[in-house]
Symmetry: T
């Protein structure tokens, strides 16, 4: 197979690598979002329980977008549990029950880390592939907005 869309092979390869590492973070975040959605407790249970499900829905959508972008660029994607565990750059989510606001803060902190990673990738993708850069900007915008709405719960 020749390179799709006449892309430079090196650029294409580097783009795929950047996207693959975002994919692991996004799947990891989605699993953490569900973990928080189930195990939180306290007066804010209901509102944050629902908020977390909206976040998970968007994170799953974004991981699908990133994986399919990798395929579009001509390589397979990897979103298996083992790969996510090994490749994610995010600290593990605490196990067991969590107070609702604490759960929000734990997830918000990890989303902030994921955004920093994504913004780093955006800086490189502008050179490599404007389509992938635009995708990463759109995902960062979405994750940042959800992060604000979690952050707002614990700020004063």
């Amino acid at each position: 197979m020749t390179e799709p869309y006449g892309m430079d092979p090196t650029y294409r390869q580097r783009t795929v690598e950047l996207l693959q590492s975002q994919l692991s973070n996004l799947i990891d975040l989605a699993l953490m979002g569900k973990q928080a959605h189930w195990n939180l407790r306290g007066p804010e249970f209901r509102a944050i329980h629902l908020q977390l499900d909206e976040i998970v829905a968007d994170l799953r959508l974004h991981s699908d977008e990133v994986a399919e972008r990798i395929l579009t660029l001509g390589d397979p994607a990897d979103g298996r549990a083992g790969t996510v565990s090994a490749q994610s750059s995010l600290p593990a989510f605490p196990e067991g029950y969590l107070p609702a606001l604490g759960a929000a803060k734990e997830l918000a902190d990890r989303m902030d880390l994921a955004v920093r990673k994504m913004r780093g990738a955006i800086g490189q993708l502008g050179e490599l592939d404007p389509i992938s850069e635009d995708l990463a900007i759109g995902i960062s915008a979405s994750v940042e907005k959800h992060q604000w709405m979690l952050r707002a719960l614990t700020e004063k």
Copy 2:
């Protein structure tokens, strides 16, 4: 906290353990379903690509039902990537590109294994908690039906 719904503490504990191990399998299957959905190739790409997304949607629904049943019974659930990797009883899904029918077969084989595990749990849950038994029967019915529709692709 006293036991919810007047349940026997030992029965409640054993029920939670059985459900937690199903949870890991269901999340693992959902991640494998997406892996197949992305990386399959060949003349049947489109039909099976769509079929896999319906399977993933149901698997995600079922893992949510199981996790929330654990919480309802009074314990936290664990669906984190590391836990899934460590606790799933299913063999890892192959990485990289897969021919469409091969991807279907790989997933169908793992769904058959998960059903055997689930049917084993059903046999015990009937004694422990009829509500959880009924949930497990419903999930097994759904996974078995999807398994047939994958299996039918490669049988003659």
Copy 3:
């Protein structure tokens, strides 16, 4: 092909036979429901005409569920006109015009018979396959409820 889901071959075979005989009854009932829906007359025409279409819709859904359960268990299903005619355990529906309440009663009587048959199968399926038992319970619940709503038209 090995047995799916590790089932005992004898149990699997007996389950399929029980389901196949319900399938013929359900398809027969659905054809009778349409027959009544078309040919009834009298002051209650409109209300019962609509009621019968809801019954037919559910009966068609149930016959689909039973047939696909047979396939899931690893055997072909048979819902051809000739098979239904030969295998149904229900008396033939009267031909030609029917007074509305009489049509309701004719169908309700046949639904009562089909439920008795289904309840007999439920008694056996509990031993053979809990997934199929649960399906049969769900279908019987649905047919019994519709039967009541027809029966209520002619009871005093």
Copy 4:
């Protein structure tokens, strides 16, 4: 009852007979469509499984239209299993598992036969009742289109 809509009694009677024989064919085709939908196997399983359900949905709609047209013309319709078995002009559908493309071909052949019969009726209905002729033309258009989409699967 006088003849509805001032129709000639002989024309009305002949129209009903032509429609009744189409009714048996259409119900028979719908049962065959479901039979194929359940029992097909092979790489094209999923796409054709779904295609067959759309065909069945249309065939059921058309049999309803024909039966209600008979009632509108002042006679009862007959769509019972025994009548369909006896009156259908189509060869029986094969039992058991079928390869997906073979199932498509079996059904397409029977649909071609049903269309030939329907076109014969159209030729006569133009003289007898333009409303029924128009209905038959609409149904033939629908069955022919579905027949093409099955036929296209096996043509080269």
Copy 5:
């Protein structure tokens, strides 16, 4: 303005006249349907009250189709109260309360008359304008079907 679509002026004129007289009948029928919908009483009130509203909805749709066909053919349409009163060929609907089945019969009788008129027009439109003929066939099919469902209420 030259004749639209290259139609023969005499044919066009005669078509418009045939359609205009159907328009008055259809609007009259719709007003009668509402009159019956409001004033009926008795055990069948609810079922027939709803049935009549579906009939009125279709009659209004058909009068709109006929009027816009007249405009399409290049003449104005007339659906004013005075014109309907003067031009309708149907006997006036009885005033005041009506027993439900009686109301159904009064309307069914007038629908039968309207269909006879419409079928007379169909016979002529085949020569004049096949598009208008097809419209009239479609409307007659609809009115005839509704007429059957009213007629079925009082037949035995």
Copy 6:
């Protein structure tokens, strides 16, 4: 039958009379709205053609509300073509083609007249039946708003 809801018989009777005369006006307006909808021409054809259909939809809804209020108060309503012709207080709508803005003005003028009549009734209904007064206020609000949006087309 005793008076419903303990109403004073004279008040009830007077209320019904006031509502019946509004009914004739509302049906007449709806027929005029359709007449305009069909026969208008000119650069504003499309926008006003659609606007008139929304007006007609509301007028039909209002005539239904008024007629059913009469029935609720215990008398039959009369919305037959002949009654509307005889009882409406509005001048006849012009026949044939109309320039679009002219059609809007013709209808707006008649709606203004109908509102004046309705407002006169509102003044009396406050004493007779507050439920009917509230209905009339709601209908007048709706007709006045539509009248403004027609009026705005020709004002400068």
Copy 7:
């Protein structure tokens, strides 16, 4: 807390009392509507069974509106089973099976009584709080309309 919206405390208090007694009646009516919906029998079963569910849906909506109006005015509402039993001004609904038309009449009679009570409250609310008066008028309009459609079943 000062009085909301600058209302006179005595007026506010009297308004709440009038609304609370309507609340008990509306909840009682809704429970009666369900009682009738379940236990009716006879040829009109289906049509009235559905009609009663629409009535119950509106009655539940109205009890919610009244209760939330009480809260809006600054007092708690009371809709508990014991309060409804003690405070409702309506005679108890008969237990056990009911012929369909008899069930309709039993409920219609109690709705007539509830409307008389509501109309009495409307007369006083006009002085006390125009917002609550308008709510009561809207609810009475709705209950009266449903009452007519039940009444119409048994009137001749």
Copy 8:
């Protein structure tokens, strides 16, 4: 009337009694849910106000299912206010304003009691009528899940 579905009369009678006592509890819980929905106050007002309405919607659905199951089994159901007051096994809900979390706890405690009662019935229904047992399991699963989501608000 002979026993429906060939049931043993004693079993049928005992099933109905078990279901009737669940019916009173479910209606009582739904009225309590609305009471809490209206009268709660405090920072969690909005989230719990909405949560309670979802609980009430499910409780109403379940009481409908139970009542219609009683009718299906051939006896009338009783859901009148007086019967609910007298027959419910749940302690009365507190009157007046409630702090939001306190309202959640009051209802959660009564739901726990209702589930214990329902689980007791499930234990007996398995012998009496598998269809009713399955219904009770489904309702208990739903009530238990809602109970968890209330309980989670006040647990730490």
Copy 9:
């Protein structure tokens, strides 16, 4: 232009003035609602953030209703930023971040003031124009209900 609907010119003019001042208040409230929706923080962020958007949606709807009522009465409306700033009778909303409950209280206080103003207008509109009075009552009912649901967050 003569006065629309035969209104007295002085009454019409006074009605417009009363409505215009409500319009400024309603637009001001909607802008404040958005201000609160964006800038609130704390544990109740999510629930109140969503609640405020529902309030804003209703306020925008009401300002549209009032403005279009002014146009219907024959005068232009004014909803420009400068006019709102100058004409609103409400104190400015605080800038910057707000604790969630504080934001709710700030808006609730201003809604209480707006309702007092609206109720004053209602008192006058009854004499001037019953249609506008009814509109103002409906808007006050809506604003009062939303005000309660904000008030309930901070009351004990």
Copy 10:
């Protein structure tokens, strides 16, 4: 392949030719409709811009119907840009900006030409294939109606 549906080969061939030439005209008209939709200007811009998109949607639907009818009859269809350019019988649409009413007239004129062509085909299809004749009548009815609504914009 034998002829589908037992058609005469010469008739089938002639039908396909007639349909293929309509296909080119319909695709050409749809492209012209978009061209007008984009480039029109003037006071009627918005209303006609939207009207043209509805016309294009129907034209695309009709070209799909015609192409799939050709396939159903057993021949390939040709809707490529080059074929459309070469085979369309319609004069080219003017390039660049167009005044709104002028754009409407340009398209209406071409639609009138296309209808004349279609009506010519209808005359022949009646002999060749009644299914294709009915399709052509339905398409002509649709195009004629849209043509009237464009024509009405510029007629007086």
Copy 11:
């Protein structure tokens, strides 16, 4: 609080300032759009009245996006009436009635100015924050498209 997402504090601050000034313009434009929507008159009233409401809906959406982006970046937003009046860079919209095309032109001119301002910000945001740049590009694209569709009304 540390800077979110590891942004440079100066860049973050400058981004917020650029967004805040767009926010005032967007809210101002939305209020102007409503002002035009209400007060326009003339033959194009209806089409432009509807067009303006679509523009307002998008402008409100965009102002929400910008405000929430400011919050996401860690600062409060300001959309109060006084701030909008003071901070908007757009000339005031004319008061009172406006001819429809004149209203369109007044708004189009102000949208052109707002776009120029937004494009200036886009030039700077590329350096400061690619997420905010992308948001501003999306909003400008939307406003420019609406501006064209207003502009097209008055161009020739």
Copy 12:
């Protein structure tokens, strides 16, 4: 007319030229997509037939976006059949029947060429107009994704 949005006239002109050449390619691709949708045959007929219709829907959307962007920039667009034929840079699509996988490959190859062209334009648009650049990136992302899903059908 001055340049919209203060754009540099040369930049604006160059942007329009780049967009116009994409427009021809996109319309050409959409016509090819339909051509393939109709004429493909073989075992994958159904899945690819549906896939192609989704591609065509997106291509039509994108051609509309590009054309309206040209208008927004102040020039007319050209999407007429002759222009498309002459201006498209893509090789003609083969006529007649095509094997399903072959049809997919023919279209995928042309989509790859169109993407290369679009990516060339993106490189230039970044300098000329960021709004148009963003549009082109979004369209390329969509076309590339569809191209992958066609390509995946024939890769191994």
